[in-house]
Subunit: 364 residues, 4 copies
């Protein structure tokens, strides 16, 4: 029992005087209150509450990654908290459906009073983006320019400071790159993986050459296709190629980190890799959910504001759409399946490696 | 263009200093902050924000029902706003999933500090219940007693005042009971409906009597079943029976209102009844969604607090469960299908009634 | 009572022998069954079941639009059935989440056996697209070519035949264009609307010119912005401009149909326009939900198949993405808010028009 | 590359001739097809498809639990597959929303033709219930009787056979009870846990006795409350009491299994317990989702069929409601938080136990 100092009263504990006393429809200052402005205010406030919670989780997880070795004890906690973010994202998605119950005509009743306010001024959303890994260099050009332009100086300074801190993307990259089992005793995963790819492609080649029913043309086509598969693997296997593609923005993870992610995916059933595999999945889902949110947000903005159809200028929803496809956090995890090889072609792990990744306690 | 007096800044407009500055985890006052207390606070605050929005909608709709005749112009607006409530309820449901990411062990880190605060102290939730129609007399016994017991006097006085105002349930009841087409010229729906029920049951009886393959026992069984169907219809058709059942809490609508609801359901395709039919559907869905919310809330409370398994005392989740099944708003609309008759047995409306319910403008 | 001829047994009625007897994992033919192939099969079958239901609704609604005047009686039914489609679409979206529980590595266990089968071979999905309005001419180039290329001849012929039938888009266009109130007695909505736009823009201009605090530069900027707003309205108001834009694929509706849609949106509270307004909203939501589905499908495909990262070739998910943004049904309804004017600038309807759009029966 | 023997065609692979050729609305046999019967058929068929998938997952997981020690390698797989069930359950829930778009009046158009078919005849649903653990002895009385009464003999025999097999509930019970760390070297969790409970309760008692500001009455009340808390713990700690409660249906797990579940919850951060903790959470969520489904199903049935309001007889939805609260699978996991103690009162694990539960490989 933890004796509390004084009786707790729900409305006081939650500071409801602030929370439900913070809605002032600006339309009231110009005449009749526009009925739907309340919805507009409350939805955005609900977003900000949840953004605060998302930041609470991210900020609790970052330090756990910063220690030289991530404590295994913490991995369960990290996944639990990151998974919570994906659950909150469902609410964020649903809230778009609520705001869409406002019709464009109702929005027109107060839209002009809000100029030049914009969702781009949500400092917390920008914090989330930066802390997850979307630093300025990764933004699409349009967004690079406008990201800091519309917000107050103190807000801008705060965010620029955050850009200096290691993001979740960077910390996960370090954690992956440190992964001990890529080289363990005599085992080198680079070699083992590279050989398995070679064998698989060579075996595929023999199959194609051996198929008597193929026309020459089809055979040539299939061999060319196989050559392209090889080039795709080389994006990872060939260090120089990797660095070119990384410079070009195609990869964000370091090459060793990406290899570790491949390793975890391929051997995810090993006891020690089960939780790391879940972690990668959760990161991917956080990215996926934000991307879903951006896509639906584009549709909502289009519906609410229409298009610059008469002038051929770019409409707001078109700008936003470019961020949907490009302002991504863990794109590398989406591209990962490019580098997987089927279980049938997967080399067994050496016994020593398997043992090292199992529990100390080996049962009765 | 509505020139705004001064440039609007998103964080100021939304009063974010209040909104995201209103989280004080009480665990901090006793030692280390319990990580999940932030989630607990923010989720409850998000609920209160949405409750404010739900009240905004209800309070905008009530006056529209108060005018002697509901303006047809307003019906579209009423439905739109009540539908918005159902959309918000999806968010309320999803938020339960978020709070469930807190484990019971994590809750134990700060649970005792909150004593005796309780969700039962949400004044806004009680306002919603009262305004929708759940006045004290309709509450289950347990809830009747405790409803006003845990809240501050000013909050109690405010709610007791609300009990005096006509609720949505009562206003809808009046609106339905006023429905002009139940008697229109020579047409009396009571008679028409009552005859149709008689004919349908008589025809069913003849079918049963005529089925040669039935054993005597089966025939007796089916006739008894038919007799029960008749008694079910009599709950509505027999005025005295209706009043008994109403006194017993089985009906809340006045008898004429319920008949009007049956009329609207049966002839919902008539142009003038399409929107009223939608209104009844929306009311039913608001009730259904709150009931879903209560059911899931029971599960969450059970999971979080466990059971008084050792003492056989009633657990919190068991008390709550009783409100799930009984603290309903529009139960009459759920029971409505008891009184429907199939389209094949439905009498045609007289031409004069049909015309009166169509648009003035009859096309080219 | 409708006596049924023989006792109905649930598993027989539902033909479950067929439904749950139609899963044959092809991986079994080559060795061990890949555990997740069952999920792959069943999810796709569930999609096809729902596609059948969506087609059932569309095909029931199309004839109601075909009659010279749409019976008002049918409008309620039409909306109800189209709304059902939006509800089904939620299931279609959720099913993507289920298929995403298959990891890319698990998919590799049987992926190659499926070559060259593809979701592009779903004939029912193509039927839905065509019947809703996405005929060949509206498809993006890539899709124009491939749409008919991968399916069997009989399937192709069937679809090409469907292309000849009027689609929902075309039937709604006709229905809108026939709308009687655009010209009613002395009232001409074109004139009334056009004047209201002129007045609004002129008033805005005077406000800008009168704002003493503006710098010359700001004033010039705002006037230019106003000029662009004018050009946007001209896209609709200027017949020639409309036809150019339509030829360019920017509009699909005829000009009169689009004007009618604007009319319905602006005067949606008039009793006779409430249900048509809901219809337009439902059509927009059907489009929005399919677009959401396509966006999430792109993410799923990317996650499952990776990218052609090494070769710079276009990946499957990139092709698909182009269909997300462009293969739309009711884009015109999304652009509609471009042409709305705020209620404060909205001309009153003449009394005769208002009356014609209200019910014959005017209450007590 | 796994060369497939012949080109795969999507409609053939999915056996769509069966899947979308298995809808025969019975209303057609009596006259006009009732439009909504198609929805009724297809929704139920979609349920059966998903039931097949749920069974596929359950049946793949059961053997993994049957081996004397559950292979750690399999734990990741088990969780993944059980989690998939929870994802499918979201679809099952959404499908209820789809069926609810059918109005009771539309159902009346074909309802009588279906007599006496019933969802209670879904053999696959019963299989799921039995395999998860809901064997006859655990069913509510009403359901005990009717469970086997309405189905065909071959179906009944098949299910009765399943009752003989170990269910997931039983297998998980065995797995938990085998948990090695409850006794490990000198460590006995029973003792350690029991002492911690005693100390916590004694400390609480001292706090209460020491609070000078308490009135005698309040102090007596709080001491009595504490006594009840003690009795709740005794439900688990006192073996005889446990067996009484178990005989009474309050517990289903064996006492050792429940203790192991408490252990896993309290020390879930230990590397070796992270995945088992997730497993318990997933089982709880499967139960929770089925309970949600049952609750919403009750509402749907009430809405669709109404109540036996006139006769006071029990309505279908009332029978169903009793199964909602009582036909549970993993109730013990819901009650678990009764037996948790706060982290502040939690004894440290001995170093030897902690080590045994960490990975063999201890980092650099």
């Amino acid at each position: 029992m933890r004796k509390n100092k004084q009786a707790c009263y729900y409305p006081d504990y939650l500071q409801l005087n602030k929370i439900i006393g913070a809605q002032h429809p600006v339309s009231k200052d110009y005449g009749d209150e526009a009925h739907d402005e309340m919805l507009f205010i409350i939805t955005h406030q609900a977003y900000e509450l949840w953004f605060k919670q998302v930041l609470h989780e991210i900020n609790s997880v970052l330090p756990m990654f910063k220690s030289p070795t991530v404590q295994e004890q913490n991995l369960g906690k990290i996944i639990h908290r990151l998974n919570r973010i994906t659950t909150i994202q469902q609410v964020l998605l649903d809230q778009l459906t609520v705001i869409e119950t406002m019709t464009p005509l109702d929005f027109l009743d107060f839209r002009d009073y809000l100029i030049p306010a914009s969702g781009f001024q949500s400092v917390q959303f920008k914090e989330i983006e930066i802390l997850l890994g979307l630093k300025s260099k990764y933004r699409v050009n349009f967004d690079k320019k406008s990201f800091y332009s519309r917000i107050r100086e103190d807000h801008r300074d705060h965010l620029i400071e955050l850009e200096e801190q290691p993001s979740l993307l960077e910390l996960v990259d370090n954690w992956l790159a440190r992964m001990p089992f890529l080289e363990f005793g005599e085992f080198e995963f680079w070699t083992s993986y590279s050989n398995a790819v070679d064998e698989m492609l060579e075996s595929d080649k023999q199959i194609i050459l051996g198929l008597e029913e193929l026309t020459d043309e089809d055979r040539a086509f299939q061999l060319k296709d196989l050559e392209m598969t090889r080039e795709n693997f080389d994006a990872l296997l060939d260090e120089k190629r990797y660095q070119e593609l990384q410079a070009d923005g195609k990869f964000r993870f370091s090459r060793n980190a990406l290899l570790a992610a491949v390793f975890i995916n391929l051997y995810r059933d090993e006891p020690m890799l089960q939780v790391p595999f879940q972690l990668l999945t959760t990161l991917l889902e956080i990215d996926e959910n934000f991307t879903k949110w951006r896509s639906q947000h584009v549709l909502m903005v289009h519906r609410m504001l229409g298009s610059k159809i008469g002038t051929g200028g770019s409409s707001g929803h078109e700008y936003l759409r470019s961020t949907t496809n490009n302002n991504r956090f863990f794109m590398d995890l989406f591209n990962l399946s490019t580098f997987l090889i089927p279980r049938s072609a997967l080399p067994e792990l050496p016994k020593s490696v398997k043992e090292a990744m199992s529990y100390f306690y080996q049962g009765e």
